[in-house]
Symmetry: C2
Subunit: 149 residues, 2 copies
């Protein structure tokens, strides 16, 4: 199951890659294991620095399901979320976060600000990470290498 | 000037109040002191827990100006931003944040996670706060008292 949903997130990342977007993908799954939204980074396409995969996936999940909160749902992201996306996850009350690769620079879950581990943040979020790291790292490296050429 | 822009943000908060939304308002001003966007909390109206005043004001400012980033612009908010909104401010590269009242519970600028004061966050944001606190506090208290009745 873990592999299946992370594969879907990676597929989204690869769609972003083809659009010359930083290749990050996200998928949201409900309590019945149904995929309720998929999204990839669209910062360049919409010229909007907040259009990260997680933000778009959460907005889509809320819109398509009509739910007020995403309790009991899980989000699967290829890369560790930043502060903004961590805040989005918090606000939407997702219960499970699975991310593939750590982002030592801008990640804010297990690195940096560590939003969900802060004593000031009330959350029931369960966090799992370290899935298909080699594959995701290769995709990221290829992308940044190719745009540098 | 400070008073004028904060008044506009308070006016937005009062519009939210009339819609039975938690009364928070935000205004974004560009380098020429032109107001480029105004917004208020719309969480209830759109049944979306991420529709905070700051998020909507930033999205509007980006959309209407066509700018990629909001460098040299300022955001004026009645209440201290939460983690999500702090992340939004960070991503949009706003240079100045003015907020009226501290939010000891969910605020993440001068309270809680203190996003911009973290050693892990790279930012040029200048922060100013404590404007019309009594007035804003009264509006918030009236709102929460009225919905409790």
């Amino acid at each position: 199951m873990v592999k299946e949903f992370m594969n879907l997130a990676i597929r989204e990342a690869l769609i972003a890659y083809k659009k010359n977007e930083v290749p990050v993908g996200a998928v949201i799954v409900d309590e019945n294991n149904n995929v309720i939204s998929k999204a990839h980074n669209l910062v360049e396409t919409y010229n909007n620095p907040t259009f990260h995969a997680e933000v778009l996936a959460i907005d889509r999940a809320l819109k398509t399901t009509g739910r007020r909160y995403l309790n009991n749902c899980s989000i699967w992201v290829t890369l560790e979320p930043c502060v903004m996306c961590s805040g989005y996850i918090l606000q939407s009350r997702l219960n499970y976060l699975y991310f593939g690769l750590e982002d030592k620079k801008r990640g804010s879950v297990e690195n940096g600000v560590k939003v969900f581990h802060s004593e000031y943040i009330k959350t029931d979020l369960e966090i799992f990470f370290g899935f298909q790291e080699k594959r995701i790292k290769r995709i990221m490296q290829n992308f940044f290498f190719s745009i540098r050429k």
